[in-house]
């Protein structure tokens, strides 16, 4: 059974068709890359996967539930099982970074005392230990992106959807972030990473068995051996 599956999905923004007849299964423990030119619909596809957008055609299933059939509270609960790195990382600007990263724990009512070591380790891994008390507007572009990744994985979700998680960081850091994702994948998490960075994708293929999906002309294709 696939964790997330798109069945003949189509999506149009106000009448303009962007995706058409997209079908893909993310099976448990799989690692996917999603690539395609700027504006081809990578972010849109990821939003379809966690119910931020509902398909105009076809059906999206997550954990065996039709996303279009979930009520609002069920959608909220679903999001606790799916960690998302948004391309335009947004934070609560009045809370320090550590609280922002722990946000999914807070809203799901988890006991912060127990999760504390987890949080510390994670912030150390993404290189933000020194910035724990900074407010989000005081962060550099790359720091924000790393914080977004940390927030996405803090709940140890079943699925991780990362939209351009390394667009603003240097090569060394991007390798470090990739390693985190690979590690999580080894622990059984399903991972989907949207990226236009072919070098990153090539590097990843050495570490993990990853499939590369490419959006081109509204369709989703499996990328060939060139990657």
């Amino acid at each position: 059974m696939a964790v997330i599956s798109l069945e003949q999905v189509g999506y149009s923004y106000s009448g303009k068709e962007l995706l058409s007849d997209v079908s893909v299964d993310l099976s448990p423990g799989s690692f996917h890359f999603l690539t395609g030119p700027s504006g081809s619909g990578k972010t849109t596809l990821i939003k379809l996967c966690y119910g931020a957008l509902l398909p105009t055609v076809g059906r999206v299933r997550a954990f065996d539930a039709d996303l279009a059939a979930l009520d609002r509270d069920q959608t909220a609960l679903l999001r606790r099982r799916v960690g998302v790195v948004h391309q335009d990382c947004r934070f609560l600007d009045h809370l320090p970074l550590a609280d922002n990263i722990a946000l999914p724990l807070i809203v799901s009512g988890r006991d912060m005392g127990q999760e504390n070591t987890n949080l510390t380790d994670l912030m150390h891994w993404v290189g933000l230990s020194a910035r724990a008390d900074a407010l989000p507007p005081e962060l550099s572009g790359g720091e924000r992106q790393r914080a977004a990744l940390a927030r996405a994985v803090i709940m140890s979700p079943d699925v991780i959807l990362a939209d351009e998680p390394t667009g603003n960081v240097d090569w060394d850091m991007s390798q470090r972030l990739l390693k985190l994702l690979v590690e999580l994948n080894r622990m059984g998490k399903t991972v989907l990473v949207a990226s236009h960075d072919l070098a990153l994708i090539r590097a990843a293929k050495n570490q993990v068995q990853a499939r590369v999906l490419r959006i081109s002309e509204k369709r989703l294709q499996l990328a060939g051996a060139d990657l």
């Binding site: 119910g51 931020a52 957008l53 509902l54 609002r72 509270d73 959608t75 909220a76 609960l77 679903l78 999001r79 606790r80 998302v84 948004h86 947004r90 934070f91 609560l92 600007d93 009045h94 809370l95 609280d99 946000l103 999914p104 807070i106 809203v107 799901s108 009512g109 912060m112 927030r151």
Partner: protein, 299 residues
């Protein structure tokens, strides 16, 4: 607002409370708007209650007193007065009727003739004070009956000079109620708008919370608590200042009997307590509605 809602609202949640930015201009706006409108509302209430009292008193004092004048020769006077009193006692709507003593009549005439007036030697008519009860009596019917049975009796119910005063008091009362309604509505509308503006300013907070898996109720509650509290604090402050201000107003003095002071009286001092409750209630409802509306825009 169901009972569970209130409990939830009061229970609070320290964690959730931190998720709403602590302050900012729109927060001050909510507090200030609630405060200012509560302050005005207290004054309008005071005006309304005072004008109500005034209208009641004027209507009472003026409508209830009439004078019956019996002009007759000295020998007939006592008989006719007795007869008139008997008739008045039978008239429905007359609470009491009393012949004035010579001293009272002399006092009434003093401005004209000086205190040393030899009243006995004058053909002064006998005056009877007529006090009506609640609904009053039928003045025309009474006049007819009196003119038939008691020659020289004239009923003066002061209608002519009472009327404008009663009308004025009535319009004061209308004005008071009207301004309370007006200020109440303006207060409600402004708190609603301030709450909406506050939520609009926090659009990003709501979006982020929804994206990380917070449920609608959780998000809405955090804002409801915050905004209800702000409105309550603002309105309570404004109310307190307003009551203080009303208490400081020069009082026209009660003993004068004609115009009452503008303040509250007795249990009336408790009425302003309704103002912060109204403010908080409006803020709660407005925040809930606005939060739900905003949330529904997000998938």
């Amino acid at each position: 607002m169901k009972k569970g809602d209130i409990r939830e609202l009061l229970a609070g949640d320290v964690q959730a409370d931190r998720l709403v930015p602590p302050s900012g201009l729109t927060a001050h706006l909510t507090i200030f708007v609630s405060g200012a409108m509560a302050f005005l509302a207290v004054f309008a209430l005071a005006l309304s209650l005072a004008s109500g009292r005034l209208a009641d008193r004027w209507a009472d004092e003026l409508a209830r007193s009439a004078t019956l004048r019996i002009s007759a020769s000295a020998d007939q006077r006592a008989v006719l007065t007795e007869a008139a009193l008997a008739i008045l006692e039978q008239t429905p709507g007359v609470a009491s009727a009393r012949a004035m003593t010579p001293e009272e009549q002399a006092a009434l005439l003093a401005p004209w003739f000086g205190a040393s007036l030899p009243l006995d030697s004058l053909p002064v008519p006998q005056l009877i004070e007529v006090v009506a009860d609640g609904p009053g009596y039928d003045a025309e019917g009474l006049r007819l009956r009196l003119s038939a049975e008691i020659p020289g009796a004239v009923l003066d119910d002061h209608t002519r000079w009472r009327e404008p005063l009663v009308r004025a008091a009535g319009s004061l009362r209308t004005l008071g109620v009207f301004s309370v309604l007006l200020i109440g509505c303006a207060m409600a509308a402004m708190i609603t708008l301030a709450a909406h503006a506050g939520l609009a300013a926090n659009a990003q907070v709501i979006e982020v919370l929804r994206l990380v898996g917070a449920q609608d109720r959780y998000i809405a509650n955090a804002f409801e608590r915050r905004f209800t509290l702000r409105a309550l604090i603002g309105a309570a402050g404004g109310m307190a200042l307003g009551v203080f201000g009303v208490a400081l107003l020069p009082s026209a003095g009660d003993a004068d009997g004609f115009l009452t002071g503008l303040g509250f009286q007795g249990a009336g001092w408790l009425v302003p307590l309704l103002v912060p409750l109204l403010g908080a209630g409006v803020a709660f409802a407005a925040t809930r509605a606005a939060a739900r509306r905003r949330l529904e825009r997000l998938q």
